[in-house]
């Protein structure tokens, strides 16, 4: 059975995405920094699903390693899912250049670096799928979270262009825009229950959307409506708001 490569495999969303693809029979490459920490998850998935799971050391900001990383995969994956994300409190990011840079690099630059390589391969082979986990925060910059948001906005734009380019080669690109998700990244935030998704639900949504060839997935789906409203507030009002 084919392999799926998950980039940023340590996140709570990635863990459930991995389980979901394994449940449906895919073998997995789980790529992350200090990937040995994923041994428990590898064991879990192999016991659950009898698929093969390989852990791969990968640093999304070590751009010059990406080509070798991809070339060294023994079997090229059928699909690549980029889940990497980095978010700190906006005030920390805006007062600390290194934090801003890290936010941009993990959420955008690094993703572009690895996906350029993947896209060329998939385009040549005329097969495969790419899933990028962006964020609703990229739909409009807000004072509460615009450094993270702008990096995700760039990533969403990149995925949109990539989808356009790869359409002719039959390679499908899915942009995922989660709203609030109950994960480590948000554990200190008091999230509204009705707008907050569980990682297992996000993973199922991603799997179903990818399998059915959807282009843009909001999860929970209510976020499509929420963001439609937020995107359409006139700027002269929006600039005075705190949301």
């Amino acid at each position: 059975m084919s392999y799926v490569l998950i980039i940023g495999a340590k996140s709570d969303i990635a863990k459930e995405v991995a389980r979901t693809y394994a449940k449906n029979g895919y073998n997995l490459y789980l790529a992350a920094r200090k990937c040995e920490e994923l041994e428990d998850l590898k064991q879990d998935i192999e016991v659950r699903s009898s698929v093969s799971v390989e852990l791969k050391e990968f640093d999304i900001t070590a751009y010059d390693t990406h080509k070798d990383f991809y070339d060294n995969l023994s079997e090229k994956p059928l699909g690549v899912i980029v889940v990497s994300g980095y978010m700190v409190d906006q005030r920390i990011a805006q007062n600390n250049w290194n934090e801003s840079l890290q936010t941009i690099n993990v959420n955008y630059t690094g993703a572009v670096s690895i996906l350029n390589i993947v896209a060329n391969d998939f385009e040549n082979e005329r097969r495969g799928f790419i899933v990028g986990v962006s964020s609703v925060a990229g739909d409009r910059g807000r004072k509460a979270n615009y450094i993270y948001g702008s990096a995700k906005a760039a990533f969403s734009s990149y995925l949109s262009g990539l989808r356009n380019r790869l359409f002719e080669s039959g390679v499908h690109v899915l942009t995922v825009k989660p709203g609030f998700v109950d994960t480590k990244m948000t554990e200190n935030l008091d999230l509204p229950e009705k707008l907050t998704a569980q990682p297992t639900d996000v993973a199922n949504d991603i799997y179903n959307a990818q399998q059915s060839g959807r282009n843009i997935l909001y999860t929970k789906s209510i976020w499509m409506l929420v963001m439609l409203i937020i995107k359409n507030i006139p700027e002269f009002i929006f600039k005075k708001m705190s949301i």
């Binding site: 709570d12 449940k23 428990d40 998850l41 064991q43 879990d44 016991v47 659950r48 699903s49 009898s50 554990e187 008091d190 229950e193 009705k194």
Partner: protein, 430 residues
């Protein structure tokens, strides 16, 4: 935040801590006040609710599967649905499963849950080979059948420690389908006769129309069945439809319940009919509707489940059904079931006899009605199921459970009373 159980009542402010690693749990254990473990929030009342909650759901790794023997070892936060997704394809099924698969293994042990095959296979603890549990002093103890800790923990509502991992034994199946027989009865005596006549069937459960009166009192659809043998194990769990918001509380009135019961009852042919149905349809009909608890409105609901000894079941049920029918308080779901022998666990619910479970939305006058039902249950030496309960009094509770003092003593002796508590454990003083 305010985590609630399935009944969405009570709703109190609580502090949630997620169980991530043993080291962190040990620290939490020494620093926290009293708390209660919380699995997937499918118990109905306040048995997993307190001001401090230890959330175990993320502690959910599979550890080992011995495919020869059908022994699965996993962490306590694993859901039964995860187990089915993994093992059915390989020809295994849970020996004991309740009517929802969306509960954790830890919760299944703590409630010592049972299913449609209780009269044959007993409670969940029957299939627990061993489990590990962190005690109040931070030590991890592994225990097996026969240990006192096992007797106290299975059915012990999370009041003995934090269940960490378990090894459970599964049963072989050779199909993802169940051959089901549906028997339509027109009164309580016929219902009882039908249960007895089909007691050799491994799975059985009856849906009762609670609002039927007089000569129709106790009319039901009895569903019995067993796994087919066609070799088709290609199981995929059903996609679910979700109820996206709380219904206004007037949505569920006597009329709508009558309509529901009528539709459900009316769709079944008279007498005996046969069907071949999937695992999800047969075992977990309500799981197909995510958040079905929201139909009761934002004030929430409770489930009243009691069991009566077999020799007095008929009289007791008749009295209780009459009372409910007179009250006109609607129960969407009334489930009747024949149980087998009781086990030795201190607080497991099942005894040999008939149990009835009914849902009620929380409203004025409800608890008074339930208190009256309690009196009948006590009169017939019956007992109340803690996993569903949110309001039973200490007195009613303890009269149903002769081993309660052993449990209390055990908790006291091992300093568990200061550490592990739920709103329920304090209310019924265990």
């Amino acid at each position: 935040m305010s985590l609630t159980s399935w009944g969405m009542y009570p709703r109190i402010k609580n502090k949630k801590t997620s169980l991530k690693s043993l080291q962190k749990l040990k620290e939490y254990m020494s620093q926290s006040n009293e708390f209660i473990s919380f699995g997937n929030g499918r118990s109905y009342g306040d048995s997993a609710i307190n001001e401090e909650i230890l959330h175990v759901r993320q502690y959910n790794h599979f550890l080992e599967f011995d495919e020869e023997r059908g022994h699965l070892t996993c962490q306590a936060g694993v859901l039964l649905s995860d187990i089915l997704d993994s093992v059915v394809k390989r020809g295994w099924f849970l020996k004991v499963t309740p009517g929802t698969k969306l509960i954790t293994v830890g919760g299944a042990i703590a409630s010592d849950v049972h299913g449609k095959n209780h009269h044959i296979e007993g409670c969940f603890s029957e299939c627990v080979e061993e489990f590990s549990i962190m005690l109040e002093d931070g030590e991890i103890s592994t225990c097996k059948k026969g240990d006192e800790l096992f007797l106290a923990t299975c059915g012990g509502m999370g009041l003995t420690g934090v269940i960490l991992t378990a090894t459970i034994s599964l049963k072989r199946i050779n199909s993802q389908y169940i051959r089901q027989k549906t028997i339509k009865t027109s009164n309580l005596q016929e219902t009882f006769d039908a249960f007895e006549a089909h007691s050799e069937q491994p799975y059985s459960v009856a849906w009762i129309d609670c609002l039927a009166k007089d000569e129709n009192l106790g009319k039901c659809l009895l569903m019995v069945g067993d796994f087919a043998d066609d070799g088709d194990l290609n199981y995929k769990s059903k996609k679910k439809f979700s109820i996206p918001f709380n219904f206004p509380s007037f949505a569920l009135n006597t009329l709508s319940v009558k309509a529901f019961n009528w539709l459900y009852y009316a769709k079944a042919p008279n007498g005996v009919s046969k069907q071949k149905v999937g695992i999800d349809t047969f075992f977990y009909p309500l799981d197909a509707i995510g958040n079905w608890n929201r139909i009761y409105g934002k004030n929430g609901f409770t489930q009243y489940q009691f069991i009566l000894p077999k020799d007095v079941s008929y009289d007791g049920l008749k009295e209780i059904l009459t009372k409910i029918s007179e009250s006109g308080k609607g129960s969407f779901l009334a489930v009747l079931k024949l149980y087998g022998e009781e086990n030795e666990n201190y607080l497991s619910f099942p005894i040999e006899g008939y149990s009835l479970a009914l849902d009620f939305k929380i409203e004025d006058g409800l608890f008074e009605l339930l208190d009256e039902l309690d009196e009948i249950v006590v009169k017939y030496d019956g007992r109340i199921y803690l996993t569903k309960d949110v309001r039973v009094s200490e007195d009613t509770f303890e009269r149903g459970y002769p081993q309660i003092d052993k449990f209390r003593e055990y908790r006291k002796k091992n300093n568990m009373r200061e550490k592990f508590n739920s709103l329920q454990s304090k209310r019924v003083n265990i």
